[in-house]
């Protein structure tokens, strides 16, 4: 009998080809899109959850509070590692990892092996316990014995392969401009999803003694990410309290000893390592961190898309099932029990969902490369779901599909099998309930489901408009300086470069294609530095931590950042290097200075205070993402410490300028790779995450609307068939084709308007919250809502009109004779 059900189910689906195709297509696309989002979310939430004992691993962060203004940083002082080890037995291991600027993908290091130069994108320094806390898989060497000695290095397997090929890497020597390192281990970089991003680690004991001693003492110089692994059963809140008490006392003692009077107070927080990837509040944190809100939004969208496809399925199955009511009646007459009929319907539903599932998985596999390109990942269906790690999630997905099959099949099964067989055979579809008889074809539930679909569709369209408008606004917003036609070149990691630095700049400037050259340690779009500044005269010094930019001559002139008080930096009559400062308007406001020009500023620089005065104030310009307001910024002139050289080329001279740059580079920096980027490209990349979200929203909107339209097409097919006789009668009585088609379409106008109102309220709330994450944003325009509702209405009525055209234009006698 069971085999019979599947046989019948298969034949039913074959016989109703268009319905089957509609349903399978809609469901398959819905399942495929859901799977993609599911895979994406899964890949994000897995970050840092696979380390052994990850529940006991914490990252230490810093919080600095001055007059209620709180700054949160991912960095901590170097010395904390020793403090944890020496003073806190609750800590099993502590380690740190030096900050390397993640905002600059061109910031690479060169190493030499057998006279050949190789580039390692991300080298950092760390203590010997790093691999005891983070159990990376080692291909060569042991994690237990690495990084304990000075001048040792651990490299990733891809770097090892690039440099050494198939040879063993252990014991080999790699040289940088500073010293020679011995390779003591090779690890697998991508063995676990993590917020870390490094290709090589050098032991921290390789740092030269003078700098090392200073690092070990200082409480205010934030240089490292610090991690601890606690013993089991240690309460983190108690531990955090205990540590901060210790740290505050130690800082206070240190400030007294060094005669520092720092406003505000520090706190260290302990962040579970599995939460690091979702923290977007901290400065100097990984740029790949994402706001967990996005995951919730995508999760909701995934659920909506699956819901939309499921609603379609249930609607179509229910509507279509009425045509099979007679068959149900016959079967009941022949002696079928209710449960046998229910089982039959569920079998058919299982076939449909199973086929849809297979098709969906095929779609996912086929489109995976494009999806990976869109989200910037390297996901595989098999790897994510059908592997040992992901089998749990794979089972959940499969169970969800099964539930859909049961729900989709049970609903028509329970309704139809409640029919009285005699009524069904006569053609009256009544169900008796304790509330009285109710005509099933009223379709109240069906309209509710369609309304839900429309709320989702309209909501997605309006959201897409708003996100697009915001992205467009960001692109065209005046940043306060000119970013066009500027190439940002990374200076080589070469200690001899300083000697040829000036000549290099001068030579770069000597070309018709170039209109200006400058240098800088910090450039808009890249990470700003932070430093302690002593503001004012000694007697009333105000110590503040402020953003700072180290720049070269001609910086403001090249960027065309306007001056509003004082003057720019110059080298005559006296050199302003480390003796003069320019600040921005936000800094003036923050510092609340009575007099700006001439106010003293001192910085702690290489063990001696460098004194200087404020010589100029520039207009605020957006040096970081427009998510943030312009923060106070101090500029100091220090050309010799430049990481970047900026070259501005003339309009339509990009190619000539690049040729010139390449030529000059080769002349001055033979053997070093040239790394550069266009400044406007760099600034655009600040919104990479937002743009990704926009792309995803556009795709999701298209899918939701497509699936909804498929469903509507199928549903309207049924409803039009149901009303064919009525259409014939109306034609005979004088109704025009146009009038009848509009009558059919108008049914949906009410639903669309109602859904539009609900969607508008929800979207306004959600999008307002999202826009508030930007310091600069558009105002939500009412036309977005009108457009969203109008587009949905046009699509839905268009779908219905296409479907109804044939029936309405048929001869009325055909319509009247239609048996249905």
């Amino acid at each position: 009998m069971v085999g019979n059900y599947f046989k019948i189910g298969y034949r039913v689906l074959l016989r109703q080809k268009s319905y089957t195709l509609l349903n399978i297509t809609g469901l398959a696309i819905g399942i495929a899109v859901f799977t993609f989002i599911f895979l994406y979310i899964q890949s994000e939430i897995r970050y840092d959850r696979q380390w052994s004992g990850h529940e006991n691993i914490y990252r230490v962060t810093s919080e600095y509070n001055v007059d209620g203004k709180i700054e949160k940083l991912a960095l901590t002082p170097f010395r904390l590692v020793d403090d944890f080890r020496q003073e806190f037995p609750e800590v099993e291991y502590s380690t740190n990892m030096f900050f390397t600027d993640p905002s600059d993908i061109n910031d690479v290091s060169s190493v030499t092996y057998k006279d050949e130069v190789f580039e390692i994108p991300d080298i950092t320094l760390s203590g010997q316990n790093f691999f005891k806390i983070f159990d990376y898989r080692f291909i060569e060497g042991s994690p237990d014995s690495t990084l304990s000695k000075a001048n040792t290095m651990v490299i990733s397997s891809s770097i090892a392969k690039e440099i050494f090929g198939n040879e063993t890497a252990i014991g080999k020597k790699l040289s940088t401009v500073v010293r020679e390192y011995t390779v003591v281990g090779v690890f697998e970089k991508k063995c676990r999803p993590t917020h870390h991003n490094f290709d090589a680690i050098v032991s921290v004991s390789s740092i030269e003694k003078k700098g090392f001693d200073r690092l070990k003492k200082d409480w205010y110089w934030l240089t490292c990410y610090t991690y601890i692994k606690l013993q089991n059963e240690v309460n983190i809140e108690d531990f955090a309290f205990k540590f901060n008490e210790y740290a505050n006392n130690a800082r206070a003692n240190s400030s007294r000893e060094e005669n520092l009077n720092i406003d505000g107070y520090f706190t260290n927080n302990f962040e579970p390592v599995s939460d690091v990837h979702f923290n977007t509040e901290l400065q100097y944190d990984s740029p790949t961190n994402i706001d967990v809100t996005y995951l919730y939004i995508f999760g909701i969208i995934a659920a909506f898309i699956l819901l939309t496809a499921s609603i379609n399925y249930i609607n179509l199955a229910t509507a279509r099932s009425l045509k099979r009511a007679k068959e149900i009646g016959i079967r009941k007459v022949m002696g079928a029990f209710k449960r046998q009929l229910i089982f039959q319907y569920i079998s058919e539903s299982l076939i449909l969902t199973f086929i849809s599932f297979i098709l969906a998985m095929s779609l996912v596999e086929f489109l995976m490369p494009q999806f990976n390109q869109l989200v910037g990942k390297d996901l595989t269906l098999v790897g994510s779901i059908f592997s040992g790690e992901g089998i749990f999630f794979g089972i959940i997905l499969f169970l969800m599909i099964l539930v859909l099959a049961l729900v989709g099949g049970s609903f028509p099964a329970y309704i139809l099998t409640s029919f009285n067989p005699a009524s069904v055979l006569k053609g009256n579809y009544f169900i008796s309930s304790r509330f009285g008889k109710q005509q099933f074809s009223a379709g109240l539930i069906r309209r509710f489901l369609v309304t839900v679909q429309y709320v989702v569709s309209i909501g997605m369209i309006i959201s897409t408009f708003i996100i697009y408008a915001q992205m467009d606004f960001l692109k065209s917003h005046d940043l306060g300086f000119e970013e066009d036609n500027i190439v940002v070149i990374n200076t080589p990691h070469d200690s001899t470069f300083k000697q040829r630095f000036n000549k290099f700049l001068k030579t770069l400037d000597k070309d018709n294609s170039v209109s200006g050259v400058t240098s800088a340690h910090n450039v808009p779009g890249y990470t700003a530095g932070k430093m302690l500044f002593y503001i004012g005269d000694t007697s009333e010094q105000n110590i503040q931590t402020l953003n700072f930019y180290g720049i070269g001559y001609n910086y403001f002139e090249l960027l065309k950042a306007p001056l509003i008080q004082g003057r720019y930096f110059s080298c005559s009559p006296s050199d302003d290097t480390l003796s003069s400062y320019i600040i921005n308007e936000a800094a003036v406001e923050f510092l609340n200075l009575d007099t700006v020009i001439g106010t003293s500023i001192n910085i702690a620089y290489e063990d001696k205070l460098e004194g200087g005065k404020i010589v100029g104030v520039v207009k605020n310009f957006n040096f970081s993402s427009l998510h943030k307001d312009v923060e106070p910024l101090v500029f100091l002139l220090n050309p010799r410490q430049s990481r970047y050289v900026l070259v501005k080329y003339k309009d339509n001279a990009e190619e000539a300028a690049m040729q010139h740059i390449n030529k000059v580079w080769k002349k001055f920096n033979e053997g070093s790779f040239l790394h550069y980027t266009l400044l406007e490209t760099k600034l655009e990349s600040l919104y990479h995450g937002d743009k990704k979200m926009l792309s995803l929203f556009i795709y999701f909107s298209v899918f939701v609307i497509f699936i909804s339209s498929l469903g509507l097409y199928g549903l309207s097919s049924f409803l039009i068939q149901h009303r064919t006789k009525e259409i014939g009668i109306r034609r005979i009585l004088g109704g025009s084709e146009k009038q009848i088609m509009m009558m059919l379409a108008m049914v949906y106008l009410r639903i669309v308007l109602f859904a539009g109102i609900i969607a508008s309220v929800i979207v306004y709330f959600l999008m307002s919250n999202w826009l508030d994450t930007f310091a600069y944003h558009i105002t939500i325009n009412g036309w977005y809502f009108v457009a969203g509702i109008l587009i949905t209405f046009l699509i839905s009525t268009g779908t219905v009109l296409i479907r109804s055209f044939k029936v309405v234009h048929e001869s009325p006698s055909v319509s009247l004779n239609y048996a249905g």
Partner: protein, 227 residues
Amino acid sequence: MIETFELTKTFKAEDIETIALRNVSLKVEKGDFLAIMGPSGCGKTTLLNILGMIDNITSGSYSFFGQDVSRMSEKQKTELRKRNIGFVFQNFNLIEELTVYENIELPLQYLGVKRKERKKRVEDIISRMKISHRKNLFPVQLSGGQQQRVAVARAVISNPSLLLADEPTGNLDSMHGEEVMTMLNELNKSGTTIIMVTHSRRDASYSRRIVHLFDGQIINENLNKMV
């Protein structure tokens, strides 16, 4: 075999009440061939449906082989129906997704008959009905007469003691109608009780008794003079 006493059936649709059958008292003995006649809307099909236990009575009583059907649950009625009653409809009511063989086999499946036994019985009856060569076709591929033969085969495959036929020749031409009536006559001769609803005097002539209904009531009952 069948006895109804003051059987009444009322249909309610919102505020409108329609009395389809009014105090119908009827007895049918085993082996009978009863025709129910009357104008359209007089309640013939309603009475047939009630006798076939696919519709419920509003008041009165109905007993089948001495059992009070009105007190039975849906499950009990289904059980009783599938073991004892076969149906032939005017518009055949074959399941379009099933072949001829599968349509005829269906009642045996619901009776839980084993596959081997089913095959034997189905092959036997399609051979008797002379439709063996069409056993793998679908109803849409058959003529009206052929479809009705399949419907009759389906109705009798479970050897029911009662066969209910609702206008069995209504959608057939005279030749095929004649064929079907001959089949029913033979079945009756071999012991099957038949109750048939018909407009056709010719069809009614095959029966032994004729009951006339009008406005839901039996107004006349007579033995068929032709028998």
